[in-house]
């Protein structure tokens, strides 16, 4: 391929045109007092803390989980020993979809994309030797989030850890599942009820736990632009707030525990602008639209993960470099926690060697690069401030359009965000095909020789092992108690009570994930999307 840079249009990776130079004349409409303010001050464009990383570094939180709870528990102990400061659980597809490891649809999938958890017993094994009162744990679980969270709370009970001290996050963001990642079980409205149940339960019982992580990551991975990622995520957040208010909660009772999760993609300045615009819009929405008074309700806290979809199969060592650039954008954008992808993740879940390099990447940025010394060190750049303003405006335009449709659920039912993302992803792919977008090692600078890398293999035995444990559990637990707890849950689901106490009872009786989700499927039904191409 010829690489004629002159012929290529200059745009961000999302297709936003870029001028050759930015100066004061591009910022005629920029008002530092209200567009920026100081770090730690409304609208928090420059960060949610006055001193940012001087006061506290971001949490280095590598998402991990594979095969059996026993094997993942060993990986967690290893990561904590390497200086990782928080845990983040990746579940396998059967768990994400609410099926036990011995279900017919779980065939071939157990332990492949994360750890297999079918019961409280598995959760006890996962956190063996890890004191839940002292470590923060994030769990990437959505449709069955209430069930996995109940298992977590039950393990904490057994460890005699006070729920009030528990700190961590469940992803629990169902709207982006309908929009992008597609790991849904129930239809949107009953799903939203479950999410609201967890937000309410958390406000009452786990004041330091984040009951939701409103996620743009997967929207971006599905091929959206940066603006779409930002806008759809914030609009999802607005929808959760509206449901919680409808439930009777006061805004400042729950809003301080809402957290966010964004992608850190390749386009360095576009990404920094995205995080800054996110904070500004959210602060204004919380204050002006919802009347929040507590500053903590207005501060958008976010986790970032480098872009999995940017990793290449070709020349995999280049992925270390991509991840470094992306992680640096997340840090300059003021993230509160960060996951860096491993070089081998276009192939498989990461090997221990690869994940160590990914963690070291964050440690080098934190301790060697010097970017942590001053808050918002990129702020004031003509280019960055212009991008931040433009990103904000474009995102607000989407928010307005979705408001006009009535709600995010209404927009989803009309396939609006799904269609916008599918169009953006196809346009991007065509730009790559034309050579307008260069991917090093893929459509330019190819090598004939590829170095083989070590790949983590997931043993098929994981499935057998998990199925055997489930059979033993079903034979030894008090099955009368299981049935009674599931009946009670079904009745609660049919009514309007908060389902969390009933799910907790079922979990404590060692009802399995699949059994609990089946009880809810009977009441709520299952969701099928109309697939559009």
């Amino acid at each position: 391929m010829k690489l004629s840079t002159a012929a290529r249009p200059f745009t961000t990776i999302s297709g936003v045109p870029i001028e050759p130079l930015y100066g004061p004349e591009q910022l005629a409409d920029f008002d530092p007092a209200c567009d920026l303010a100081e770090p730690g001050r409304f609208p928090y464009t420059r960060g949610i803390h006055e001193t940012m990383y001087r006061g506290k570094l971001w949490t280095m939180r590598q998402f991990s989980g594979f095969a059996t709870p026993e094997e993942t528990n060993r990986r967690y102990h290893y990561l904590l020993a390497q200086g990782q400061t928080g845990l983040s659980v990746a579940f396998d597809l059967p768990t994400l979809m609410g099926y036990d490891a011995d279900h017919a649809l779980s065939e071939g999938e157990v332990g492949k994309c994360g750890v297999a958890i079918s019961s409280l017993e598995d959760m006890e094994t996962l956190f063996r030797g890890i004191p839940l009162g002292d470590v923060t744990v994030s769990m990437t679980i959505n449709s069955p989030a209430a069930v996995l969270w109940a298992m977590y709370l039950a393990v904490a009970e057994k460890q005699r850890a006070d729920w009030a001290r528990l700190s961590g996050t469940i992803q629990n963001d169902i709207l982006k599942e309908y929009i992008a990642q597609k790991e849904y079980i129930f239809p949107p409205r009953p799903s939203m009820r479950l999410v609201t149940d967890t937000i309410e339960f958390s406000a009452l019982h786990t004041p330091r736990f984040n009951p939701i992580s409103i996620s743009g990551y997967h929207i971006r991975e599905a091929g959206s632009t940066a603006v779409q990622e930002l806008a759809f995520t914030l609009r999802d957040g607005i929808e959760y707030v509206e449901w919680a208010l409808e439930r009777g909660l006061a805004i400042d009772e729950f809003a301080p525990r809402l957290s966010f999760f964004f992608n850190a993609h390749n386009d360095f300045f576009e990404e920094i602008a995205k995080y800054r615009a996110a904070r500004k819009i959210w602060a204004e929405v919380m204050r002006d639209r919802f009347g929040a008074q507590d500053e903590r309700s207005m501060k958008l806290r976010f986790h970032a993960q480098t872009a999995g979809c940017s990793l290449t199969w070709q020349q995999p060592y280049n992925n270390i470099v991509r991840t470094t650039v992306q992680a640096l954008a997340a840090v300059l954008g003021g993230c509160q926690s960060l996951h860096t992808n491993s070089l081998d993740e276009a192939y498989a879940l990461p090997s221990e060697h690869a994940v160590t390099i990914a963690l070291r990447t964050q440690q080098v940025i934190a301790h060697e690069s010097g970017v942590t010394a001053a808050a918002d060190p990129a702020g004031g750049s003509y280019f960055l401030e212009r991008l931040t303003l433009d990103t904000e405006r474009a995102a607000r335009d989407y928010l307005r359009r979705i408001d006009e449709m009535g709600s995010m659920i209404a927009a989803i039912e009309q396939n609006f965000p799904q269609r916008e993302i599918a169009n953006a992803s196809y346009e991007y792919q065509k730009a790559v095909e034309r050579g307008d977008k260069i991917i090093v090692g893929v459509n330019a600078f190819q090598s004939d020789h590829e170095d083989a890398i070590e790949i983590l293999q997931i043993d098929q035995l994981a499935q057998t092992h998990q199925a055997r444990k489930l059979a033993a559990l079903r034979a030894t637990r008090d099955n009368g108690r299981v049935r009674a707890s599931l009946d009670a849950l079904r009745r609660a689901a049919e009514g309007t009570e908060n389902t969390m106490p009933f799910i907790l009872d079922a979990v404590r009786a060692y009802a399995t994930l699949g059994e609990i989700c089946d009880a809810l499927r009977e009441v709520f039904g299952s969701y099928q999307e109309t697939s559009l191409v």
């Binding site: 597809l93 059967p94 994400l96 979809m97 099926y99 649809l105 779980s106 065939e107 071939g108 999938e109 492949k112 994309c113 599942e177 990642q181 597609k182 790991e183 849904y184 991975e221 599905a222 091929g223 979809c309 290449t312 199969w313 070709q314 276009a346 192939y347 498989a348 599918a422 992803s425 196809y426 792919q429 065509k430 095909e433 991917i439 893929v442 459509n443 790949i455 997931i458 099928q528 999307e529 697939s531 191409v533």
Partner: protein, 131 residues
Amino acid sequence: MLPPIRVLVAKPGLDGHDRGAKIIARALRDAGMEVIYTGLRQTPEMIVNAALQEDVQVIGLSILSGAHNAIVPRVMDLLREKDMTNVKVIIGGIIPDEDAAELKRQGVAAVFQPGASLEEIVDFVRSSVPA
């Protein structure tokens, strides 16, 4: 003029990451083929039945979850059982080299790994269907 090539694009298994499947479906359609997209979570039985009903010449399977070794052999068996071995099966996704070689031994026409270009895939489908 020849009738357009008919392709079934399917997403088997529990995974919901359909970005690739949708892009391929669009690219084949833009190349003048008739594309039927099954949507998510199709079992091998559902896929082969759809292929039969829609009378397609090509089945494209998108698998990113690592479940290919459980899913693809079942699809190939069903095609043999139903005497549909003239239907070409192509796979796209995260398929390690050694698995790709084994799947081809079982009759899969082509495996497209990450980074494959749309042009390459469209050309392959065109050339694999006898005019």
